[in-house]
């Protein structure tokens, strides 16, 4: 729709939409059907081989400011090719993003790039905008963690959130462990060398590539048998026939022989229940239990799964099967009345769904301005409002010149929304 792209209502330019994930960043323009670029969230300093991750929560503000500034500079001037001063920004973020990271990111945008306004949009809420429905149970399987948040009538039900650190990072670690333990490397001169002797540490990019190209999630029956064989206590359980081995070439001279049994068993960590009996599937049931009773049926029949880890082949099928199996357990069947689960297929790949929701919202030029934090507000207040911090007054107060805010603003907000 070229007309929509170049002329907004009132001639305002289209906003840019950025989804800063821990592993990949999706960036593009509002109103489009997909992000322009999906790039790894890291920057490379000249002379250093190791890339620096952009989304880090444990470093001090100065370093984070420099890293974010460099990264956003690359986004604007190499990928989006627009002037920062002209366009509003929509940032898709996780609800659990630490405030200090948000503050630093806002400071980079306002002080360094002088954007007109910034809007922080929660990823779970944006995901349901791509479907045209008002309520859904959204599960975001990302790199660092899997986070489930129900959204009822377009409002996130914050007390019912559930999360587990089972995501791409955990899979990489597990896969790396298996590769180093069980696999061998052939070089020009030798065969059957151990990985540690041949190449030392396997870089994470290679592990990620092996995961994407060779691994998959088995279906429920097969997966349960694999788990039994792993935690084999009495020595009788037998593992189902493993898939074929793969000869994976590393940098032209070396070949890594990946054992077939790794290909299907590495993903079981997502569904194995740990000591607290939690897995990716129980998250959804635990969330449902926490939600109010009258919302449960609507939510269980509107499941949405987003995030890069959900794109693994066989993941969705296995997830549904696991949920249906687990709901029969007494822990859940006593509490949950409805046992029907249905899952949505958003009009975008799972790793871009939250981005697409943000792009749809960013195209609503009538209200984007009023819902964003403008640069004037930021310069006056010095900080952005956060859902967990109730002491910032709403932006409308600043524009009523001469009217002092009523004294009730300073009281505890417990009775108000």
């Amino acid at each position: 729709m070229p007309i929509f792209d170049s002329l907004g209502s009132g001639g305002e330019k289209t906003a840019i939409v950025i989804d800063l994930g821990a592993a990949f960043t999706k960036c593009g323009f509002a109103g489009e059907t997909g992000p322009r670029f999906i790039i790894p969230s890291e920057i490379r300093k000249p002379g250093q081989q190791q890339a620096i991750k952009v989304v880090q929560y444990n470093i001090n503000t100065e370093e984070l400011y420099v890293i974010l500034k460099e990264f956003i500079h690359i986004l604007y001037f190499r990928h989006l090719l627009v002037n920062p001063r002209d366009r509003r920004v929509v940032i898709i973020e996780s609800i659990l993003c630490p405030s200090h990271f948000r503050e630093t990111l806002t400071k980079v945008f306002f002080k360094q790039f002088e954007v007109p306004s910034v809007l922080f949009a929660p990823s779970h809420l944006m995901a349901i905008m791509t479907l045209g429905i008002n309520s859904a149970l959204v599960m975001d399987c990302g790199y660092t963690e899997t986070l489930v948040l129900p959204v009822y009538e377009c409002t996130p039900v914050l007390p019912a959130w559930e999360a587990l650190p089972l995501g791409g990072k955990a899979i990489h670690k597990e896969l790396d462990g298996f590769l180093v333990e069980q696999c061998t490397v052939d070089t020009d001169t030798t065969t059957g060398q151990s990985v540690a002797a041949a190449i030392g540490i396997i870089p994470e990019e290679t592990v990620e590539d092996i995961k994407v190209r060779t691994c998959f999630v088995s279906d429920l029956q097969r997966g349960l048998k694999i788990q039994e064989a792993k935690f084999n206590l009495d020595g009788t359980a037998e593992r189902p026939a493993p898939p074929t081995d793969v000869a994976y070439p590393l940098d032209g001279e070396k070949i890594l022989h990946i054992k077939g049994s790794i290909r299907d068993s590495v993903m079981e960590i997502l569904f194995e229940q740990d000591n607290e009996e939690k897995s990716v599937a129980t998250l959804i049931l635990d969330t449902l239990v926490k939600c109010p009773i009258d919302t449960r049926k609507v939510l269980s029949e509107n499941l949405v799964v987003i995030g890069g880890t959900a794109m693994l082949p066989g993941f969705l099928h296995r997830l549904l099967a696991e949920i249906r199996l687990l709901v029969e357990k007494p822990k859940y069947s006593d509490v949950l009345a409805s046992k029907s689960f249905r899952i949505h297929a958003p009009p975008a790949k799972p790793n871009c769904t939250a981005w697409l929701g943000g792009a749809i919202f960013g195209a609503l030029q009538d209200i984007l301005g009023s819902r964003s934090v403008s640069r004037d507000y930021y310069n006056q207040m010095g900080r952005i409002p956060d859902w967990c911090c109730l002491s910032s007054p709403p932006p409308e107060c600043l524009y009523d010149v001469g009217k002092t805010p009523p004294p009730l603003m300073k009281r505890a907000f417990s009775t108000e929304k």
Binding site: N134, V212, R213, P347, I367, S370, P406
Partner: protein, 471 residues
């Protein structure tokens, strides 16, 4: 000895919002503010777009329409190299006589690096050399457009309600305070920026005010998801046919898993950047429009305005012993420049890195102007400056070499650093002619023009890194 000329040996301090230390070759000089600027304290702007392979300039409106991609050039989806168009002759039936065949030219795309061709993904050969190749369209595009239209209608409704409320609110002040105290009513309706985005659903289309209502079918959830095919568990996989993550992410709309679905994309453009001072909004650097030209229309770089200090030779430095270091000072402008060097105060807050004391020549150093024709003009008489041989080692056109004395203060110092302030006069030729001179009339105007550019004294702090102490 070339290591003495490395850019990080001599550092100038930029006093912007933050203290930035950089070599003079990386800094800009704002003539209007008379201050040094670094890349971090200027605002960057996109100047022009161009394609990196065909070097064709693209006006920004066209770039926006084509999504910042070149119309003619393609990238290989496998290795990201630029694709070239190749032609073959294929037999094709004549339009008049189906039985006879004639040779026609057919074009296909091929990569010179990884040998990928457009025939690998099933793209038919085209009969025109350029312009025949189309990128596939996103299958969900229509649904997304409908969703956007629907939400735009809700948003329009919200805006109307907000405007109506704003007008209504101004009239009544007292009831507002009351309702805030007792009711959750107005609070709920006020949107707090930063709070989780509340619903547009509250403004549903139940109050059918509009004639043209766009309603949307909510998405239907599925009961069953397709399972993995059986041969996934038992069959072999051929790695060259499975796309890597990087290849998939180059096509965000499709992200195909099989290499036979990787279609080439148009090449992404690059852009030229212009820099602007944040304080006075003047351009500091503006490149040429033409992509093949590397020159600049405006280029206010620091090396062409500020005298540059370079290290020429360092003797062995010893702890607490005075050594003489030879430095050179180059004058980039055409008029004679007077330079004074002063040491930093003990309590200077900007002076954080120096580990040695420095004794500077007390006298003012005079630098001759840069004269481009001087090297060709052998009969020119050298200008006579009375140079103190203790201070000035040599003089050559616009450059002098002078001595400073350094006393390292730290034992076991890995990098002896000294800093001092350099004060020089700067004539601002960009300054507009003052009205009092203009009153002097045309005849006096020419003479006045020379005197109009007043000398401004600028001070910069310079840091020198002299390397480790001699063992």
């Amino acid at each position: 000895m070339a290591s003495l000329l490395q850019p990080d040996r001599v550092i100038y301090l930029v006093r912007g919002e933050k203290r930035i230390r950089a070599s003079l070759s990386q800094l800009y000089f704002c003539r209007y503010c008379s201050e040094l600027r670094s890349l971090e304290c200027v605002s960057h702007e996109v100047d022009s777009h161009y394609c990196p392979s065909c070097l064709e300039n693209m006006p920004s409106a066209e770039a926006k329409l084509k999504k910042n991609r070149c119309a003619n050039c393609f990238d290989c989806p496998c290795c990201m190299h630029t694709l070239s168009t190749r032609a073959t002759n294929i037999p094709a039936p004549l339009p008049d006589d189906p039985t006879k065949t004639t040779m026609k030219k057919a074009y296909y795309l091929a990569c010179g690096f990884c040998r990928w061709t457009s025939r690998d993904v099933g793209m038919a050969d085209k009969s025109v050399a350029s312009g025949g190749w189309q990128e596939p369209e996103n299958p969900h595009a229509q649904r997304i457009t409908k969703l956007i239209e629907y939400y735009q209608q809700l948003a329009h409704r919200e805006k109307q309600e907000r405007d109506r409320k704003k007008l209504a609110r101004r009239r009544q002040c007292m009831p507002l305070a009351f309702s805030e105290k007792y009711g959750l009513g107005t609070r709920l309706q006020r949107q707090r920026a930063g709070a989780p985005i509340s619903s547009l659903a509250g403004l549903s289309l139940k109050e059918g005010e509009d004639q043209k209502e766009i309603s949307i079918e909510p998405a239907q959830a599925l009961d069953e998801v397709e399972p993995l095919p059986e041969d996934c568990y038992t069959g072999p996989i051929s790695l060259p046919e499975v796309t890597t993550l990087r290849q998939r992410l180059l096509q965000p709309d499709f992200q195909p898993a099989g290499a036979s679905q990787l279609h080439p994309r148009h090449k992404h453009l690059l852009m030229k950047r212009s820099l602007r001072c944040r304080k006075c909004e003047h351009n500091l650097s503006k490149p040429e429009f033409n992509p093949t030209s590397i020159k600049f229309k405006i280029q206010l770089v620091a090396v062409s305005y500020i005298p540059e200090v370079r290290i020429m030779s360092i003797p062995n430095l010893r702890y607490m012993k005075e050594s003489q270091v030879l430095l050179t000072l180059t004058n980039p402008v055409e008029n004679v420049t007077h330079v004074t060097l002063t040491p930093c105060d003990d309590e200077d807050p900007d002076d954080i890195n120096s580990t040695a004391k420095v004794v500077l020549p007390g006298k003012e150093l005079v630098l001759a102007g840069k004269d481009a024709a001087a090297e060709y003009d052998e009969l020119a008489e050298p200008q006579d400056f009375q140079d103190d041989p203790d201070v000035v080692a040599f003089r050559k056109s616009n450059k002098i070499g002078f001595f400073i004395k350094v006393i390292p203060q730290k034992e076991e110092d890995a990098d002896v650093t000294v800093s001092f302030k350099i004060r020089h006069d700067f004539r601002n030729l960009a300054a507009p002619v003052r009205p009092s001179e203009e009153g002097g009339g045309g005849a006096g105007g020419a003479a006045a023009a020379a005197a109009v550019s007043e000398a401004v004294w600028l001070t910069h702090q310079v840091e020198l890194r002299l390397g480790p102490l001699a063992p």
